[in-house]
């Protein structure tokens, strides 16, 4: 069964360092999402891609976060510099298209900023 792949699964870093997360969506899925889930909260959208284009990054803290999906397949989310408040689970999801198409989530990257 096809799955969304993410790496690393866990990342511990010190504040002010740079971190990067990678996501490989299910083959053929044009829509890719990055969500952040803080403990005790629900996932919140950071950025949505349609193929290689950003569709929605209104909630992405652009002073420190960046995301790209250069060839419309895999994607990288970067944080520079990391802050203590960035400690969270970073979830990648993909779907065939936007809207009422099932979004499949990867296992997530658990980030701890010390």
């Amino acid at each position: 069964e096809a799955e969304v792949a993410q790496s690393p699964r866990y990342k511990i870093t010190e504040k002010s360092q740079a971190v990067a997360f990678w996501c490989d969506p299910i083959s053929g899925h044009a829509t890719l999402y990055w969500y952040r889930q803080i403990l005790g909260q629900g996932p919140e959208l950071l950025v949505q891609f349609q193929d290689e284009s950003v569709v929605d990054d209104s909630q992405l803290p652009k002073d420190r976060f960046s995301a790209e999906r250069l060839k419309g397949v895999d994607s990288t989310l970067k944080i520079q510099p990391a802050e203590l408040g960035d400690s969270a689970m970073y979830l990648c999801a993909s779907s065939l298209a936007p809207g009422p198409y099932l979004a499949y989530f990867g296992p997530g990257t658990r980030l701890t900023v010390l």
Binding site: V4, D56, P98, A103, F105
Partner: protein, 111 residues
């Protein structure tokens, strides 16, 4: 302002009994609703969904009910099993917008 609300952070149910998880929403433009289940250190997995044109959808032990006039949906699990212990997220979509999630309800099924 939270558009999807799950007001019960946790729920404990005995094995074999019914679990009822509730979800309220404020955006009347939402037209598709989903429930995801999440185990610790894993990503959410899809459980069941319902379109706004329906009021009930059933899949095995899981049934979702939608009351559009009350902007309320609920997930029923019958009978509850220990393996159902997880965090359950209610999520909603409007048109082509991304999923909007509630804060989740932690279900504990006690043997």
């Amino acid at each position: 302002d939270q558009q999807v609300k799950q007001n019960s952070p946790s729920l404990s149910v005995q094995e074999g009994r019914i679990s009822i998880l509730n979800c309220d929403y404020t955006n009347s433009m939402f037209d598709y609703f989903l429930w995801y289940k999440k185990y610790p250190a894993e990503g959410p997995t899809f459980l069941i969904s319902i379109s706004s044109i329906k009021d009930k959808n059933e899949d095995g032990r899981f049934t979702v009910f939608l009351n559009k006039s009350a902007k309320h949906l609920s997930l029923h699990i019958v009978p509850s099993q220990p393996g159902d212990s997880a965090v359950y997220f209610c999520a909603a979509i409007s048109g082509s917008t991304p999923l909007v999630f509630g804060k989740g309800t932690r279900l504990s099924v006690i043997a």
